[in-house]
Symmetry: C2
């Protein structure tokens, strides 16, 4: 039903239109939408008009199109990740006041680290990443802390796979990564030393739901030369306070955030939009 000659559904084409809008291109004309999506101009016109009628997209005075707030509102109200974020935010503020640096909350989604929140201070270390950045788990402390607790087959998939290198400090071999994961598992926290930004390091601890299941990572980014060991107890306390604010069974029993769905493209594409996200 409702499919194009290519068999693609209307919903799929609508998602392509929505995804044509990015951080770098928040305002587009219909012809640009057609170009970016590969859809015929008439189709792009029709889908834009329907999304505008639904107030997903908006037009400005020049008839240019941009994203409205509707999708954000809907997802903000109803997604599990947002309730995690709301439970974590006050605790993250307290932690930030203490460590006086960036504090982040991340989950695994589709095998990648997805940042749900990042609290930044003015005048803190340069920080290019935004919430909704995704990066491979072996490039940041959050990913390492979560990978350290993942099932062995998930770990093997990453340690045996290709590793993207961002800086001279990045993890280069599966053996190196295996040793780092073993240490993170033993110590209960993970550290990334300039893997993405050579001058910054990240420290992450796992966050569990009341059932003891790991659901997120809480991390802090500090300059490379800062001693991070004094920060760890405060991070562990913060993580426990977040757990107290979560509902039991935050994840149901056989959810697998490490499972890469769809074409697998997403996981193989190294997208370090999170720049210095370690």
């Amino acid at each position: 039903m409702a499919n194009s000659a290519s068999g693609e559904s209307v919903i799929s084409r609508a998602m392509r239109v929505i995804e044509a809008f990015t951080a770098g291109s928040t305002v587009l004309g219909v012809s640009e939408v057609a170009q970016r999506t590969g859809l015929p101009l008439a189709t792009a016109h029709r889908i834009v008009a329907e999304l505008e009628a639904e107030r997903v997209l908006e037009r400005d005075s020049q008839r240019k199109i941009r994203m409205g707030t509707r999708l954000w509102e809907i997802s903000q109200r109803s997604s599990r990740e947002m309730s995690l974020r709301m439970a974590a935010l006050p605790v993250m503020h307290d932690l930030q006041a203490l460590v006086k640096s960036h504090v982040q909350l991340a989950v695994i989604s589709d095998g990648e680290v997805l940042y749900l929140e990042r609290l930044s201070r003015r005048n803190a270390v340069v920080n290019l990443a935004h919430p909704a950045s995704r990066i491979p788990p072996y490039l940041c402390s959050s990913g390492l802390a979560l990978l350290a607790e993942a099932p062995r087959e998930v770990q093997s998939r990453v340690t045996d796979g290709p590793l993207t290198v961002s800086t001279d400090h990045s993890i280069r071999t599966g053996d190196q990564l295996r040793a780092i994961l073993a240490e993170a598992r033993r110590r209960g926290f993970a550290v990334s030393y300039g893997y993405i930004q050579p001058t910054a390091k990240g420290i992450a601890v796992p966050v569990r739901d009341p059932d003891g299941r790991t659901v997120a990572a809480l991390s802090v980014v500090v300059p490379l030369e800062v001693d991070h060991l004094p920060i760890i107890p405060a991070m562990i306390t913060a993580s426990r306070l977040i757990t107290e604010g979560l509902a039991p069974h935050h994840y149901t029993s056989d959810d697998d955030p490490w499972r890469v769905r769809g074409t697998g493209q997403r996981a193989s594409r190294p997208r370090t939009t999170g720049a210095d996200a370690d």
Copy 2:
């Protein structure tokens, strides 16, 4: 094209399915989706399957459906409101550290106050609202600060319209509201005294883009008995710092966030999900 017997487009039906998920009902079965949307079960099944293929919706182990992170990710990356939020967040953290209370950022959307962010402290005044809450502008300080700067015809639409009353303190008459707006305009900030929550008051200042156009309100919620005047200079400074972080022409010239689009239902329905949001 692609319309049902009722003439409703696939995209419109898909939006109905997505909106069936709310803060109180984050996990639904397909039959519940059908029930909530009024769509035939087969249609609900098909649309859920398509949205699942697009990873907008996800299934858990019990085959129950819930919202994924995809819509949040897309909207987070590409919407203008999110870039405003990112510019404001570090400044809001500093303000919060100073005033030690809730700090909020809101815009006008479709004639309503829409909260983009709320920084809350543990142990601060009770605060039931979440980002993405919407409330009528005359019920909160953010709305009053923004309404005070709105064109006269917008003000009249609100002062002449019906006013919902939440507490004994709420504004009850158009004359009262007109006087409050005149004072807010003269002083450069607005105060709401227990309009929603009888024990809290909100203080709001407008936030402008580098072109001088008002784009948002920055507000603080404190207990009713706290003297708010000492807070005002810090709020005005914070507002100016946010302006510095915004791109010029944040809004294009004839955007009108006060315009109520669609059926008009939205603006007439008093939805104070923002509880003590003043």
